[in-house]
C-alpha cells in the first residue's frame, strides 16, 4: 500500500527533498551557525511562512479536492494559536509570580498564587479571575491536546450540522464565514476571558527557556514547522490518493452522483472538514509562538479569504500549488508592504507599493481566476509534464 502510494506520487518525494534542502540551507545561513546571512527576524518570517503553507495545504484539500470553499479554516488556525498561547502565557507568568512570591516570609496559598497570576494576565483588561476556559492552561500536555481537540470538535459539530442539512456551495461558504465572524467577535469581547482585542502576547518567550537566545528558539521553531509541513504534506497526499481520494474528488465534481453510487457523502465531507481543521490548528500552534502575539484580528473573516486567495493563485487541486501560493503571495506581500519594492515614477504620479500593492493583488487575483484557473501550480504542471 505504502509503496504504491509513494510510487504513485513522485511529487511527494520531490517536495520532501526540496523542503529538506531549503531547511538545511536556512539553518546553515542563520545566526545559530554564526554565518548571519539570514537574520533572526527573517528566520521567523520563513518559519511562519512554512506554517502558512501547512494551513494552505489543508485549505487545498478541503476546497481544491473536496469542493468545500471553507472561509473558516483560518479560524481553526487561530484557535490552535490561542490554545498554545494560553499555556505559554500561563507558564511564563507563573514563573514570574512564583519568583516574586518566594520573597515573602509566609509561603503563598494556592489561591494567592492563582490570584497573582490572574492579576498579571488579566489585570490589563481589568479583572483577575480565571475564566473556565483556562482550566487546562497550567499543563502543557493538556493544552496541546486542546490544540487538536478544540478545532476538531468545533469543525465536527459545525460540519455535522451543515452537511446534515445539505448546506452546500456558496451557502456553506457564507455560513463558514459567519462562523469565523462570530468567533472573532466573541474573542474581541473583553469578557471572553482571552484578553479581548489585546489577545495573548509575549508568546515568543518560551517558559523554561528564558535564557535561550531568540536566534536559537527561532531555528527550533523553524525546524518544527518544516517537519510539520513535511508530515502534513505526506499525510494529505496519502488522503487524496487511493480510493478515498477518488471519492473525495467525486464529491467535488458531482456530489449527487457519488451519493447515488452508495457512498455516504456527508461522512467523507465531515472527515475532510474535521481533519483539515485539526491540521490548521496545529499549524496555528506552531505559527503564533513565532509571531509573538495572537489577537482576534488574526481570525477576522478577511484572513480566511486570503487563505483561499493563496490556494487559488498557487493552483487548486495540487498540494504543491497550495505551498507555492502561500509562500509566494505571503512573502511577496511582506516584500511589497515592507517598502522592499522600489517606487515606480510615472512622471506625473509616483506609485508607492505600500499603497498600491493591494490593488495589484486584487487585480492579479481576478486575472488568475479568469485566465489561469490552475494557478501557478498549473504552470508548473505544464513545465513538468511537457517533456514526458
Amino acid at each position: 500500500m505504502r509503496k504504491s502510494f509513494i510510487s504513485q506520487n513522485p511529487s511527494v518525494l520531490w517536495f520532501l527533498l526540496a523542503l529538506s534542502l531549503f531547511t538545511l540551507g536556512v539553518v546553515m545561513l542563520s545566526e545559530v551557525t554564526g554565518s548571519n546571512v539570514i537574520s533572526t527576524s527573517f528566520v521567523k518570517t520563513l518559519g511562519k511562512t512554512l506554517c502558512l503553507c501547512l494551513v494552505a495545504i489543508a485549505m487545498d484539500v478541503v476546497w481544491g479536492y473536496c469542493g468545500i470553499l471553507s472561509l473558516g479554516h483560518f479560524a481553526f488556525f487561530g484557535i490552535g494559536g490561542y490554545a498554545i498561547g494560553m499555556w505559554l502565557m500561563y507558564a511564563r507568568t507563573e514563573a514570574i509570580v512564583m519568583d516574586s512570591l518566594q520573597a515573602q516570609v509566609i509561603p503563598p496559598t494556592p489561591q494567592e498564587i492563582s490570584d497573582a497570576i490572574g492579576n498579571q494576565i488579566f489585570g490589563v483588561v481589568g479583572s483577575s479571575e480565571f475564566p473556565l476556559i483556562w482550566a487546562f492552561a497550567d499543563g502543557l500536555f493538556l493544552q496541546l491536546l486542546m490544540v487538536v481537540l478544540v478545532p476538531g470538535v468545533l469543525a465536527l459539530v459545525f460540519g455535522w450540522l451543515a452537511f446534515r442539512s445539505r448546506v452546500t456551495g456558496v451557502y456553506l461558504s457564507i455560513l463558514t464565514q459567519a462562523m469565523t465572524l462570530a468567533l472573532s467577535l466573541y474573542l474581541f469581547q473583553n469578557d471572553s476571558g482571552l484578553r479581548g482585542n489585546n489577545g495573548l502576547s509575549g508568546l515568543q518567550n518560551i517558559p523554561g527557556f528564558e535564557d535561550t537566545p531568540q536566534a536559537t528558539i527561532s531555528i527550533v521553531f523553524f525546524l518544527a514547522s518544516a517537519v510539520a509541513l513535511g508530515a502534513g504534506y505526506v499525510f494529505f497526499a496519502w488522503v487524496v490518493s487511493g480510493k478515498m481520494g477518488s471519492v473525495i474528488k467525486g464529491v467535488r465534481d458531482n456530489e449527487a452522483r457519488v451519493r447515488f453510487l452508495g457512498y455516504h457523502v456527508e461522512s467523507y465531507k465531515l472527515f475532510v472538514f474535521t481533519i483539515t481543521a485539526i491540521i490548521s490548528g496545529i499549524a496555528g500552534a506552531l505559527y503564533y509562538p513565532q509571531a509573538g502575539i495572537i489577537n482576534p484580528g488574526e481570525i477576522a473573516p478577511i484572513a480566511s479569504i486570503y487563505l483561499a486567495v493563496w490556494v487559488a493563485i498557487g493552483g487548486r487541486g495540487r498540494l504543491y500549488g497550495a505551498v507555492i501560493g502561500a509562500a509566494f503571495v505571503s512573502l511577496l506581500s511582506s516584500w511589497f508592504t515592507g517598502g522592499g519594492a522600489p517606487d515606480v515614477n510615472l512622471g506625473i504620479y509616483t506609485i508607492q507599493w505600500t499603497d498600491w500593492w493591494l490593488v495589484l493583488l486584487g487585480v492579479s487575483f481576478v486575472a488568475v481566476t479568469l485566465f489561469f484557473p490552475k494557478g501557478i501550480g498549473g504552470l508548473f504542471d505544464y513545465l513538468v509534464r511537457k517533456p514526458s
Binding site: 470553499l69 516570609v105 509566609i106 509561603p107 503563598p108 496559598t109 494556592p110 489561591q111 494567592e112 459545525f158 450540522l161 451543515a162 446534515r164 442539512s165 445539505r166 448546506v167 452546500t168 456551495g169 456558496v170 451557502y171 461558504s173 457564507i174 455560513l175 464565514q177 459567519a178 462562523m179 465572524l181 462570530a182 467577535l185 466573541y186 474581541f188 469581547q189 469578557d191 473573516p301 478577511i302 479569504i305 483561499a308 486567495v309 487559488a312 499603497d355 498600491w356 500593492w357 493591494l358 490593488v359 493583488l361 486584487g362 487585480v363 492579479s364 487575483f365 481576478v366 481566476t369 479568469l370 484557473p373
Partner: protein
Amino acid sequence: MAPGCTKRFDPSRKPVFMRRFLVAIALFFCALTPVQAEDLQRILQAHAEEVANPSRRSVGVVLDDLVTSGLAQVPGFLENWADKNVWRSPDRLFFLGDVAGDVIEVTDLDSGETRSAPRAGFTQLKPNGGVRRLIGTALVQFQLADPDITRRESAVAAIARRPEAAQLAPLIASIDTETDERLRARKVQLANFLSARFAEAPQDRIDAIQSLAQDTSVEARSVLNQILQTEAGVGAAEPEGNIARLLDPMEAPDAYYAQLVEAGLAPARTGPAVIRAALEAHIDAGTVGGVPLAQLGTDAARERAYAALSKAGAVPPLVTEDTRDYALNTYVFYELYDEPNAEITAAAEAALASVEQRVAFAQAADLALDGLSLASIYFLAAIGLAITFGVMGVINMAHGEFIMMGAYTGYVVQLFVPDYTLSIMIALPLAFAVTFGAGVTMERLVIRHLYHRPLETLLATFGISIALQQLAKNIFGTQARPLTSPDWLDGAWVISDVVQISFIRIAIFVLALLFLALILFVLKRTRLGLEVRAVTQNPGMAASMGINPDRINMLTFGLGSGIAGIAGVAIGLYAKVTSEMGADYIVQSFMTVVVGGVGNVWGTLAGASLIGFLQKGIEWLNPSNTLAAQTYMILFIILFIQFRPKGIVALKGRAAAD
C-alpha cells in the same frame, strides 16, 4: 466715592448669609449717597479673579452681587459673559470684545463706548458649562417676561435644567402675560413640576403630583424620583420618620455587613489579606501561633495559626459567618424618605408606578422603532445583493464596495455643491449612475465569464473588492469623510421623551420602502422584469424566445449595483464615509439575503426584519455589551440556516433547484 460702598466689594470670603446682610446694609447706605453712580466695572473688579476664572462652586457670590446691584446693564453683561464675548484688557479691566484678525473692538461695559485696540494682551473669558448654567439661572428673573421670545425660551430652559423653589412664583406670574402659545404651555408644565416639589401647601403638591401620573417625559419622572429620594440607614431599632422600606440583610449579607462595619457597629471581616498581615506581624522564631512558617501555605493552616494568636489575645477574634449573621439580625436596615410627609410620598409612589408602566410600553415601542430602522438599513444594504445573488445566483463580494462608492459619490458632490439639499438631490441619482456603470463594467469584464462557477465568482469579486477598497484609500485617504445631511433631516421626530427617532432614519426607512416598491414594480410589472424572471428560471428557453440573456444579466447586475450606491449615500448620511464602510455591511447583507431566502424580494425583507429586530432584542437583554449582541445574533443565524437552509421564504419547485 463713599468708603462704605467699596468696602462691601471686598472679596474676602465670608459666609453667604453674612455677605447678603452686608450687601443689604451697604445698599441702604449707598442709596443715601447721591454722588455714587453704581458701576458694573467696579463690581466686577471687586471679584476680578473670580470673574476671570469662575468656578461653579464659588461664582454664586459674584452673581448674587451682580443681580442685587439692580443695574440695567447686568442682564446684558451676563448674556455676553456666558456667550464668551467678554474680554479682559491688559490693564485688567473687563470689556465686551469683538475680534477681527489682530484687532479687537472693545465696548465699555457701562458707557457703551467703543474703540479698537490691538488684540495682543487681551484675554477672552471662557466660563465653563457649569458656570454658564448658573448664569442662566441668574438670568431667569430678567428673561421670564422679556419681550424677546428667545430670551424667554432660554429662561424656561434654564428653569428646566436647574429647578429651584424660588423660581416658582415668578414663573407662575409670567404665565398670564405669555403670548406665545407653545411657550405658555411649557411654562404651565414647568410650573406644575415646580409645584409638585416646592409648593407650600401639601394638597397643592399632591394635586400636582397626581397630574404627573400621565406624563412619561424624563422631566416628570425626575420630579417624582426627586420627591421619592431615600437615604439608606442602619440602626438598632426602626427610626422615626417617613420610612420607605425595611430591607432584609440576608439578601446580600456581605454588602450589608460592610455597611455595619462602616457605621462602626461591627468589627471588620477578617479577610485573607487581614489574616496574612496579622500573621506576618506576629512571627516568632520561625513560627506563628505555634505553626511553622513553611506550613502556612494553606488557608486552613493560616486560620489555625490565627486562632492560636487570637486565643493568646494578640489579635481580635475571627469574624466568622455565624458572627456576621448574628450581627446582621440584631440590626434593622431601612430606607428613609427625604420627604417627611407620608401622604406626598404615597401619592408620588402611586404616580410613579403608573408612569413607569407607560414608560415600559413606550420603551417597547421605541425599541420596535429602532429595530425597524435597523431593519430598513439592512434591507437597503442587502436588496441590491438580493437581486444579483438571488436572481442571478452571482455572489458579489464587491457589493460592499459599491455601497462605499455611492457614499464617496455623495461626498464628492458635496465638495462641489455646497447646498446640502441640492447636493443630496444630485448625489442620489449620480450615485446610482456611478455604481450602475461600475456594476455593468464588472459584469462585462469579469462575471460574465464565470456564470457557471459560482465559487470562483466569489473569489474574483473578492479580488475586486480589495482592489477597490485600497483604491478608495489611495484617492480619498484613510480619514473618514463628512457627508452632511440637509437641515430638514437634522433632529428627530419626538413622540415623547422615550419614543423618538431621528429624521434621517425615517428618511432611510422611506427610501427602503420606495425601493421595495420600485423593485417589485420592475420585476412584476415591466417587460424587463418579465425577461429577468424568464432568464432566472430557464436561460436557454428564454434565449430561444428571443430574450438576450447577456443584456438581461448586465442590466440586472447594474440595477443591483446601482441600488447599493444609493444605499451608500443613505448609510453615509447617518453614519460615516470611510473606505472600509462596505466591509462592515457585506457579511450582514449576505446573511440578510440567505436568512430571508434567496431569489425573493420579500425574503430579503423578512430577513432584514428578522435580523434588525433580533439584534435590537438581544441588545436590550444585554445593554452593556453591543459586541456580545452581535455575536449571539450571528450564532443564531448559523443555527437558523442549519434548520431552514432555504431561508424564511423558500422558493418551491423548479426555481428552488441549485
